[in-house]
Symmetry: C2
DNA sequence: CGTCTAATTGAAGCATCTCAACATGCGTGG
DNA sequence: CCACGCATGTTGAGATGCTTCAATTAGACG
């Protein structure tokens, strides 16, 4: 339990530091936040479309996604979220959820009270800014996804998704610095890119043939990062990371 | 000049009131804001991708759009903005623009200082909330656009765009309550929906044949609102409007 | 009235989708 | 430890939605 709390704290700090400057005082204040951690089974929803958005939580472990359904049962994934991501900074001010949030892997999340967060933001202007930046970056990523889905062909579109996942993970300092591997079902990729699962399958084969990635089941490894970024037309500027994302 | 100032004020109030409650005191405080108005010629950029985002402005008159280019020169429009919209609540906290903003019609915008806005938000918690809601609704609209572009066919996709423009205009109390007409070039519709201009042309013909809309040049009129909403799979919930959008 | 932009049309090609079958891998219960 | 069942990945074939190119028409404006 204590370990989870400190892990939640560490991830949140890393996440915020990837996009904003935090003073030691800021970190101290963050560490006083009261958490309540909870495990979420894979494929379970943490927030449901239409429900009142009350609680505020950050991801401690695992990957989650926002998604929305369309008439006819098709699903569109709207964003991925990694450890340290604050899930509903944007939704807290709204009366109900306009989408759902699901655990793509088994997850740990830390819930904390809206008031505690509000007080924190009142007390520390720099933390306030960091959290606002976090929400602003989320919005920027949404915009890039509109572009990705609207104007890129299947191959660059999937490649772009992979580049983003890699860049954001790297920004958290989670990856081992060498080969980057992540897990994503072909139909999850399909839902995130607005393609059919079959076409994702074929496009992944192209990416493999071009030696940009390799896959084992639903586990994908980026082999040639610069090549993949070229294929994806990827420019990480929209992530608004503080550090140049060194390889 | 005075007229423009009060118009800017009126639009901002209407915009915020469409999504949040404002007290008389809030409105009073808003009315003390110092504006500087400026005319923007059609097709001119107010903000440019990559530039530092410093100023903060609201639209007084006209329609603007956010957009982004992709390798190969294709454009993707990310959102439309109507009078009263605050343009860069989200971008102020970021170091540079990750997209551009353009006047789709001749526009009037009111610039005001970032500090004045910050003070206002400090002084009034309810105005603070209203402006945060405004940004949150923007993000919600981005999410709906990802869904629209990713998972809807051309006809419902264009229909959805039209429904949104109508619903948001109606929420401002701008339309005359009867037939709703707006101006949008076919290639602008193409850029907003991720389609080609030619296909937009053909799809508009379908919409006309189905008696849902009529067009004269780049001017479109919604004839059958419920029918169009049905065709679009449109649910206005994601706009988070306070009022049920009465016809 | 010419000039320019935007809308329209036709034809051909390609990207992507759907359907349907089959293969592979993995976890679980026997 | 094996056998089964389920989820996922793979493949083929045919259909279609959308794009591109290129030519033509229609409007808007000085």
């Amino acid at each position: 339990m204590g370990a989870q709390l400190s892990q939640a704290y560490a991830h949140l700090v890393r996440q915020l530091e990837s996009i904003a400057f935090l003073s030691n005082d800021d970190k101290m204040q963050l560490s006083t936040l009261q958490f309540q951690t909870k495990s979420i089974a894979q494929r379970h929803d943490v927030m449901i479309h239409g429900a009142k958005s009350s609680s505020c939580c950050i991801i401690v472990k695992g990957v989650m996604c926002r998604y929305k359904m369309v008439r006819g049962g098709k699903r569109q994934i709207l964003s991925f979220h990694l450890p340290g991501d604050v899930l509903d900074l944007q939704c807290l001010d709204l009366d109900f959820m306009d989408h759902s949030i699901q655990a793509m892997t088994p997850c740990e999340v830390a819930f904390f009270s809206q008031q505690a967060l509000a007080e924190l933001m009142m007390n520390s202007p720099s933390l306030n800014l960091a959290l606002r930046r976090h929400a602003a970056v989320d919005a920027s990523i949404f915009r890039e996804w509109i572009l990705n889905v609207g104007r890129r062909d299947a191959l660059p579109r999937i490649a772009h998704l992979f580049c983003e996942v890699f860049a954001r993970t790297r920004a958290l300092g989670i990856d081992d610095g060498r080969r980057f591997t992540f897990s994503l079902t072909q139909s999850e990729i399909a839902d995130a890119t607005g393609l059919s699962a079959v076409h994702v399958n074929r496009t992944l084969q192209h990416l493999r043939k071009q030696q940009l990635i390799s896959s084992r089941g639903s586990s994908h490894t980026i082999i040639d990062t610069p090549g993949l970024e070229r294929a994806a037309d990827f420019d990480p500027a929209y992530l608004h990371l503080r550090m140049p994302q060194a390889a």
